[in-house]
């Protein structure tokens, strides 16, 4: 190998690695930009009024999005009530009955369900709830969100249950427990913490979902009026305000985005730290 070839290769090496690093950092720059703008602009919008008041008539400054915050909470709680038990059941089937063909089939179906765009799910919820019952409603929105949530809960539950070591299961069976008791009393009971973590992550995911709500829960300018009425939500409010021409509404949109980001990132960060600490203690014992 000639000296020139060697130095060419060395240069290529440095350049190549520099390129890789540069592109990698490029991947992070949007994150920094988004966080910067959301915090810088959203900060100004936050006030007591922002959290507790209704919007004012168009063009007037002031008011808040209290109704949307409440609406999001209601929708997420309703969606969780529907999807968590179902997702849990699926998770158990996926994890504890892996040897059965139906379990593997379910796995594919769950993945398929997860890959359906959320706007299509919104369209589905529109067709089965809004149209027949002649109206936008919190019900329709919650159903749409729950369909998005079910596969997430199912998969995370499965992951968490799989973490339980096989020896524990065999010990349970060896003691003479019927299979279902072993699953419920030992596997599930022992994984409640991690399962809850999975549910929280799923909640964080759907709290920011907008598309399924656009024509199901729709939107509202009023406080909560009943589950069969349209209901506001933070993401839809952000969307409506963002595409409006009013600076005051733009600021509120950033404020809403700040709330979402704080919640989503905050949840993700704390869960990761929690899991990291748990892994440390686990590996120590």
């Amino acid at each position: 190998m000639s000296q020139r070839q060697l130095s060419t290769r060395k240069i290529v090496n440095v350049a190549g690695i520099a390129l890789i690093v540069a592109l990698s950092l490029l991947a992070l720059s949007p994150l920094i930009s988004v966080l910067y703008y959301v915090v810088a602009h959203g900060w100004r919008a936050l006030s007591l009024d922002f959290f507790t008041k209704l919007p004012l008539p168009v063009g007037e400054t002031g008011g808040g999005i209290g109704h949307a915050i409440l609406g999001s909470i209601i929708l997420v709680v309703m969606a969780s009530i529907i999807s968590v038990p179902i997702g849990l059941g699926m998770g158990v089937l996926l994890s504890e009955y892996r040897h059965l063909r139906i379990s593997r089939l379910l796995g594919s179906v769950v993945d398929l369900l997860a890959s359906i765009p959320s706007i299509v799910i919104g369209l589905f919820a529109y067709a089965i709830v809004v149209k027949p019952f002649h109206g936008f409603s919190a019900h329709a929105g919650a159903i749409a969100l729950s369909i998005v949530m079910i596969p997430i809960v199912a998969r995370t539950t499965e992951e968490m249950l799989k973490l339980v070591s096989q020896t524990v299961r065999e010990a349970g069976l060896a003691l003479g427990l019927p299979r279902y008791r072993m699953i419920l009393r030992i596997v599930v009971k022992g994984s409640l913490g991690p399962i809850l973590v999975g549910v929280i992550l799923a909640v964080a995911r759907i709290a920011g979902e907008t598309a399924p709500l656009l024509f199901t829960a729709f939107s509202s300018q009023q406080w909560f009026q009943g589950l069969s009425q349209p209901i506001a939500s933070i993401p839809v409010q952000i969307y409506n305000y963002a595409i409006s021409p009013y600076d005051d509404w733009h600021e509120k949109a950033w404020g809403g985005a700040l709330i979402l980001i704080l919640m989503v990132l905050g949840l993700n960060l704390s869960i990761r730290l929690f899991l990291a600490r748990k892994n440390q203690t686990r590996s120590r014992s």
């Binding site: 004012l56 008539p57 168009v58 063009g59 009530i81 529907i82 038990p85 809004v130 149209k131 002649h134 109206g135 936008f136 019900h139 003691l175 003479g176 427990l177 008791r181 419920l184 009393r185 729709f218 939107s219 509202s220 300018q221 009023q222 406080w223 909560f224 009026q225 009943g226 589950l227 069969s228 009425q229 349209p230 595409i243 409006s244 021409p245 009013y246």
Partner: protein, 365 residues
């Protein structure tokens, strides 16, 4: 020994949980309908963005007088409002352009058009500050929107507005960026109906309606979306209701009316158009007031309508009465709020006719 003692309680326990869960899934929706949660009567409406600033003011003021009624209006465009009305997912609709005969035939309950106010559609634009607004004829607007005029420095524009030349002196990009509507819009319908009147080629090649194939440009969602684009994009032009341009302090053009006068959009010039067209307004109030031949009449004026069924819906528990009461308030007290938001109050004689019609609805109910 443990297993036999606890054996019997797990299964029943699990089933109780399951049963309660399923029961609540069924019970909650069915009881929620009974309005257990809200102490206000909720009235839902949807439609035009053109009058939304005025309506939102109306709703707020009306609710101060009637705190037990909550009116929830979604400004999704006239097309959306008409559709929701026909689907009966809202209690009332709103549209700038009257519904067509075809649409009216599809209505489960007959629909009445109630003019709420009138306003102006202005051509707002984003250019460096000029001493006075630019002038545009209908034909020029049609050509801009048909991509036949693509630059602010086009000779036909310079003829009317020589000052444009200085704005684009040093090779500054002079593309005209056209903004129209992406959603089903009554404002579009009125605007294109006007264009069809002033331009044969527009009438032939594009036509008019709430949604159409715009020859060029990008679409904003609602009057708000168009205003937003024009505000942000230098070189752009769009059509919006007067209040939007005023509130955002955007300039808008002087237009030529059938009398070859240059008219500024204002409460007065819209009123001139409305009054000039009074005698031609039919019994069902469906009409157009564009290109009215009257002194100082603004050429792109329009009524905007609230669309009300002639009888309450089957599931009605007070909404219909609330709507009628609100209508009467809007047609009388509400009109006083129009000028501050640059809408033109309805001519008195028209209001009398409309109130007569609304009272018929009351009786019929």
């Amino acid at each position: 020994m443990h297993p036999s003692k606890t054996d019997d309680t797990l299964m029943p326990k699990a089933f109780y949980f399951l049963a309660i869960w399923v029961a609540s899934l069924i019970a909650v929706p069915t009881t929620a309908h009974a309005g257990l949660f809200g102490n206000q009567l909720m009235v839902n409406g949807a439609g035009a963005t053109f009058p939304y600033p005025l309506y939102s003011k109306w709703f707020a003021e009306y609710q101060k007088l009637h705190p037990d009624i909550a009116i929830n209006y979604q400004s999704i465009g006239s097309g959306g409002g008409i559709r929701q009305l026909l689907d009966e997912t809202v209690d009332f609709g709103a549209s700038d352009a009257p519904m067509t005969d075809e649409q009216l035939k599809k209505a489960p309950r007959p629909i009445v058009h109630i003019p709420a106010t009138s306003g102006a559609i202005v051509m707002t634009y984003h250019l460096p500050p000029l001493k006075s607004p630019i002038k545009l004829t209908g034909a020029l607007i049609a050509d801009i929107y048909q991509k036949k005029i693509t630059k602010w420095t086009d000779p036909r524009l310079l003829e009317l507005n020589p000052e444009l030349k200085t704005l684009f002196a040093n090779g500054v990009d002079s593309d005209i960026l056209v903004v129209h509507r992406s959603d089903g819009s009554g404002t579009s319908a009125v605007f294109t109906e006007y264009l069809s009147k002033v331009s044969e080629s527009w009438k032939k090649e594009v036509g008019h309606g709430t949604a159409l194939r715009w020859p060029t440009g990008i679409g904003g969602k609602g009057n708000e979306g168009v205003t937003s684009f024009v505000k942000q994009i230098p070189g752009s032009i769009g059509f919006v209701e007067l209040v939007f341009a005023k509130t955002l302090k955007l300039p808008y053009a002087l237009l030529e009316n059938p009398r070859h006068e240059w008219v500024d959009a204002s409460m007065e010039s819209v009123t001139a158009a409305a009054e000039g067209a009074l005698k031609n307004i039919p019994a069902d109030f469906r009409t157009s007031i564009t290109q009215v031949n009257a002194p100082n009449a603004y050429p792109i004026s329009s009524f905007t309508y609230l669309l009300i069924p002639t009888k309450p819906a089957p599931g009605d528990h007070g909404q219909y009465r609330a709507i009628l009461d609100f209508l009467k308030w809007g047609l009388t007290e509400g009109q006083k709020l129009s000028p501050a938001l640059f809408y033109a109050p309805l001519p008195k004689s028209l209001v009398e006719r409309i109130l007569k019609r609304v009272n018929q609805l009351e009786v019929a109910k």
